[in-house]
């Protein structure tokens, strides 16, 4: 099978969507941030100038504009660039977008996708490093996808653009240069179906987005020490494939959650709570969370590394749950 970078797979997905569905329009252009591959988005925009809109620096205004447009039959894919900028649009996301279908008793649908680049990218400091997926998860009324591979980003994007629900699409800039197999033929990955990224028998790791890759690296090292780690990647947290998580924990009896949200009320906290509630009897040791500490993200590299989930911290946590 051919190999693409994450960025190439993402832009290929966007291109195929623009070519196959006239209702899809793109707002914003920083899908690949300011990374070297950003030119791929520029090329796509040049191919489809009538389908790209360059909004003013007004996240609230243009995210809301996308919501309104989605009610007329358009299927906007909106880019908010860095996830931290999402807070400028917060009122439209939480008060309007997520509530409209429910409040209207299903009369009105909001088929839109909004994209953001989340997480600690290195030197982003407190205002360019957020992982707001837990905050989004605390807002019923949207689906949330957090891909971790080139194959997943393209396949999940296809599903996001075809549903009648609003979808939050979080990427991590540290994934964009990663290479992986992506088939030539069309495919879509259904929401709510986890992928076992690595099979193992001693410890279950549940992770999404970049943390899947970091966990895979840690699992490789642990394997050389004779520790077998299974990695469950839910791929979407709404809907969530709870069964896959519980099944893996039932098999291994141990859980380490690796997540880039802050510790308190993060995505990792929710994964932990689900397992504690529904699979407590299978647990041979307490659940461990490897997550971002409850501080604003500092700028200085050693401080940044101190607060984020690192490979070393993952390895340590896995060893602790086995002891």
């Amino acid at each position: 099978m051919r190999t693409l970078t994450y960025g190439q797979a993402m832009v290929e997905g966007l291109r195929e969507l623009l070519e196959s569905d006239d209702r899809i329009h793109i707002m914003g252009q920083y899908f690949l941030g300011l990374t070297p591959q950003r030119a791929l988005v520029g090329e796509l925009a040049a191919e489809h100038p009538d389908r790209f809109y360059y909004p003013p620096i007004a996240e609230l205004g243009y995210l809301g504009t996308a919501i309104g447009a989605a009610m007329t039959g358009m299927r906007p894919i909106v880019d908010l660039a860095t996830a931290s900028f999402m807070f400028q649009a917060w009122a439209q996301i939480t008060e309007e977008m997520a509530n409209i279908h429910y409040m209207s008793d299903g009369q009105t649908k909001v088929p839109m996708v909004f994209h953001f680049n989340h997480g600690i990218r290195g030197g982003g400091a407190a205002q360019h490093s957020h992982s707001p997926q837990a905050m989004l998860w605390n807002t019923p009324g949207m689906e949330i996808m957090l891909p971790s591979t080139p194959y997943d980003v393209k396949g999940l994007l296809k599903t996001a653009a075809s549903t009648d629900n609003p979808t939050a699409w979080g990427d991590h800039v540290k994934l964009f240069m990663m290479e992986g197999e992506v088939p030539e033929e069309d495919y879509a990955i259904p929401f709510g179906v986890a992928d076992i990224k690595r099979e193992g028998s001693d410890v279950t790791i549940v992770a999404t987005s970049l943390m899947v890759q970091r966990s895979l690296a840690a699992a490789g090292k642990l394997a050389s020490e004779g520790i077998s780690v299974e990695i469950v990647d839910p791929r979407t947290i709404v809907p969530l494939d709870e069964a896959a998580i519980l099944e893996s924990v039932a098999k291994t009896g141990r859980l380490v959650v690796v997540d880039e949200c802050h510790r308190s009320c993060g995505v990792g906290a929710e994964f932990s709570a689900i397992v504690a509630e529904k699979a407590f009897g299978y647990l041979k040791s307490p659940i461990r969370r490897v997550v971002t500490e409850d501080v604003p993200i500092p700028f200085s590299p050693p401080m940044e590394e101190y607060v984020e989930p690192t490979e070393a911290k993952i390895i340590q946590a896995v060893k602790e749950v086995i002891d």
Partner: protein, 339 residues
């Protein structure tokens, strides 16, 4: 001034205005007998909403606010379903999921109703964006009060509408001032530094129209102009309709302080009570509309009373329907979060 329409159409607007007035009066009475929660009424603004929305076509979309009852009634949403929704009954338009703050009906061109001040300005702008980019000959109407102009969403939205020449009409119903303040010329509102509401629009180059929102003919003309501009590719329009705040809206909860409207006051000044004389004699937009209709000889006073009796009976029936309706099964709360 009456709208430049046929006599039949003007009388149709009169009926809609009476529907709104009686709907809200019945609702306030209902709130006196049971706890129906926080709600807002449209009394006093009927002659803005009715003529403004009268000109819309099927497929046009309107975005209203917490003060939405009058707008929906003006587009023909059945009062029975509205009362049922306000009471949280399963026969309401949204099966009890939204209540008074979020009354909507896609069938009547109200896709969603935001009760967050300024919440709908981006949405209305976006509907116009969708119409334009999808090549649909439709117009989006954003209905809001003066308060929405204090929100940042206003400035972000009108910038987008202006730059893209979107087919959207921003209809601001300025009900910020009470009678005395209006007389003193104290526009716009007490919490805006701008001297005039249109000062928040002109830098964007969007055409503005300021009208007396109690003058049905002026509302009709302004909306006609704005709709023509929108449908012919000319872009957005901002209309400031200055209405008079009904004295019953002064307390936290609406109160029938001016009593149930006796439409005969329009032609028999001896019926006007001393209390709130100014409201009845000069400011009540529906009474003023009736006086203008009578001056044109479009209908006899007795026929207006007959129309009112019919509407009032309908509203009482609609309330009965809502009261007799069942609450939705509680577990239905878990449904329709996603499509």
């Amino acid at each position: 001034m009456l709208p430049k329409l046929s006599g039949e159409q003007v009388l149709e607007q009169l009926r809609l205005a009476i529907v709104i007035r009686r709907f809200e009066e019945e609702l306030i009475k209902l709130a006196g007998s049971r706890d129906i929660g926080h709600f807002h009424v449209y009394i006093g603004q009927e002659m803005t909403g009715v003529p403004a929305l009268y000109l819309l076509e099927r497929g046009d979309l309107s975005f209203t606010t917490h003060r939405n009852h009058g707008h929906l009634l003006a587009r023909g949403v059945p009062a029975s379903q509205m009362y049922a929704e306000i009471l949280g009954k399963e026969t309401g338009m949204m099966g009890g999921r939204g209540g008074t703050l979020h009354l909507c009906s896609m069938e009547h061109g109200f896709p969603t109703t935001s009760s967050a001040v300024g919440g709908a300005t981006p949405l209305a702008t976006g509907a116009a964006f969708g119409f334009q980019r999808l090549g649909q000959d439709r117009v989006s109407v954003c209905l809001f009060g003066d308060g929405a102009l204090e929100e940042g969403s206003w400035h972000e939205s009108i910038n987008i509408a202006a730059m893209e020449k979107l087919p959207v009409i921003y209809l601001c119903e300025n009900n910020s001032l009470e009678a005395l303040g209006q007389k003193a010329g104290e526009y716009p509102s007490s919490t805006l530094a701008a001297v005039d509401l249109i000062d928040l629009v002109t830098p964007f180059g969007v055409p503005t129209i300021q009208i007396d929102g109690c003058d049905a003919g002026a509302v009709h003309a302004a909306m006609g102009e704005a709709l023509h501009r929108a449908r012919s590719g000319g872009g957005a329009t901002f209309i400031e309709a200055r209405t008079v705040r009904w004295p019953g809206n002064r307390p936290i909860w609406p109160e029938l302080s001016t009593g149930e409207t006796n439409f005969a006051m329009a032609w028999d000044s001896s019926l006007v009570p001393t209390e709130y004389r100014e409201w009845h004699a000069e400011q009540d937009a529906v009474l003023r509309f009736i006086r203008e209709i009578l001056a044109e000889g479009l209908i006899e006073p007795e026929a207006i009373l007959a129309m009112d009796a019919e509407v009032s009976a309908e509203m009482k029936e609609a309330v009965e329907f809502a009261l007799a309706s069942n609450y939705p099964p509680a577990a239905a709360a878990m449904e329709k979060v996603l499509a």
